[in-house]
């Protein structure tokens, strides 16, 4: 598989958020605003890249008995490092993401990519796969976060100062006053409903493309999830 196909695999056909349905807990909990979603997406991408690179480097030397243990230690260390750095330089984002920053450890996407892909591939291929999966996850997070922020708060990018500092305050758009927001979009049920609609749209697009090109093997969402 060439690098472009590996990368695009994570964006579309095997998108972690829309097809594999991995890492749903942070995806649904944190995507209340664009700023939160972008912050968690970038943090997850960083951890994914670090753990996949490590897994690819050491994968062939590891015994099967301790492989998962070694990956878990590596991932936990990477997440803790990311958390400390966020606490020091992005304290507002750190507070806003709360428990979901350390909980990247339990995002099965990270362990799944390290274990089932990166540990058996070369460094470059593992890195490209991690980027593809990470960006795919980030895009779903950001789309869901944008839609929920617009519906629920009437704004878009209203909390970008969490990521980019005080100079980004007020860069966001305000479409209507926050108190007229649609509360359901901010609550967990709204997150499930909106994600469901996104999964449906994604499946529809894949099915249509398969029909057009006569390509077999349409995977329904959730089929790959563990």
């Amino acid at each position: 598989m060439d690098a472009v196909a590996t990368f695009r695999n994570g964006l579309g056909r095997q998108n972690p958020g829309l097809v594999q349905l991995l890492g749903l807990c942070p995806l649904l909990a944190v995507s209340t605003t664009l700023g939160n979603a972008l912050g968690l997406g970038i943090a997850t991408l960083g951890v994914l890249l670090a753990s996949s690179l490590t897994a690819s480097l050491v994968g062939r030397w590891l015994l099967p008995e301790v492989r998962i243990g070694v990956f878990v230690v590596t991932i936990a260390a990477a997440v803790t490092a990311v958390e400390l750095v966020a606490a020091a330089w992005l304290p507002e984002l750190h507070e806003s993401l709360g428990i979901f920053l350390p909980l990247i450890v339990t995002n099965c996407l990270v362990l799944a990519r390290a274990e089932s892909f990166a540990s058996r591939r070369g460094v470059v291929e593992a890195a490209v796969d991690a980027l593809g999966m990470g960006v795919g996850f980030l895009l779903v997070l950001v789309s869901l976060g944008s839609v929920r922020e617009i519906l629920g708060h009437g704004s878009l990018g209203g909390d970008l100062q969490l990521l980019f500092g005080e100079s980004a305050r007020g860069l966001g758009l305000q479409f209507f006053p926050a108190q007229n927001g649609w509360l359901l979009a901010l609550l967990p049920p709204g997150a499930f409903i909106l994600l469901g609609l996104m999964v449906a749209a994604h499946n529809w697009r894949i099915a249509r493309r398969a029909e057009r090109t006569g390509e077999p093997g349409v995977r329904a969402a959730g089929q790959l999830s563990s």
């Binding site: 015994l63 230690v73 400390l84 926050a178 509360l183 901010l186």
Partner: protein, 230 residues
């Protein structure tokens, strides 16, 4: 394989243990470095955040002491809403007390405790109230946040006589404070917690501002009973 299977099998667990142990040592080393590199900065950020929160409820009252250093911890489950020690910051000017900031808890929010910061001047008048943390419903109970609505700002200037103690309730309960449409539990809890903090301050003023100075951080535990709201 050129060595006998028996030898391979005895060494295998050892190799596994070394791999796992080695990774752990590397991970701990990396984290120690990151921790060392970020520690000072995290402390600064944390201090600045606490400082800003405390100054906010003091509403610009002039003082010349370091609030974070001049703090005592007190315990009063009835009036401060938690059996854990509660920090009281003391603001003084030329050694004379001007105000105190209490960090009480409203234990009966809609989903758990609501942690507050309450600034009270030396005459028992509220300088400001802010919510530090809560888990109330977004869009309903979270109107207690200053950035969501101005409800919490309406405490400023109030005291135990204004309104009288029996009217320190939400309107629905016959008091003077607004509830929110669709959310009464949250404002009820906050109003009671603020009133109790005022009662605590009035009763224990001598403990917080002793006539002769008490060393900072000396724990004070008072379990005397008095009036209480909620």
């Amino acid at each position: 394989m050129d060595r006998p299977d028996a030898e391979k099998n005895t060494l295998r667990p050892l190799r596994g243990a070394l791999l796992l142990g080695g990774t752990t040592v590397l991970a701990v080393g990396l984290l120690a470095l990151v921790h060392e590199a970020t520690r000072e900065r995290i402390e600064q950020v944390e201090r600045a955040r606490r400082m800003q929160a405390v100054e906010q409820v003091l509403d610009g009252v002039r003082h010349d002491n370091d609030l974070l250093l001049d703090a005592v911890t007190v315990t009063d489950r009835d009036l401060l809403g938690t059996s854990a020690p509660v920090t009281v910051y003391r603001a003084t000017l030329d050694g004379e007390p001007v105000a105190a900031v209490l960090a009480p808890t409203a234990p009966d929010g809609y989903s758990g405790s609501i942690r507050l910061l309450v600034g009270i001047d030396v005459d028992g008048r509220l300088l400001g109230v802010r919510v530090q943390s809560h888990r109330e419903t977004p869009g309903l109970g979270d109107l207690i946040e200053a950035r969501k609505s101005d409800w919490i700002l309406k405490f400023t200037g109030r005291s135990l006589g204004d309104p009288p103690l029996e009217r320190w309730k939400v309107r629905k309960d016959g008091g003077d404070f607004d509830q929110f449409t669709g959310a009464t539990v949250t404002p009820r809890a906050v109003v009671a917690a603020v009133a109790n903090a005022l009662l605590y301050f009035e009763r224990e003023r001598e403990l917080i501002f002793p006539p002769s100075a008490t060393p900072a951080d000396e724990p004070i535990d008072q379990s005397a009973r008095g009036p209480r709201i909620g």
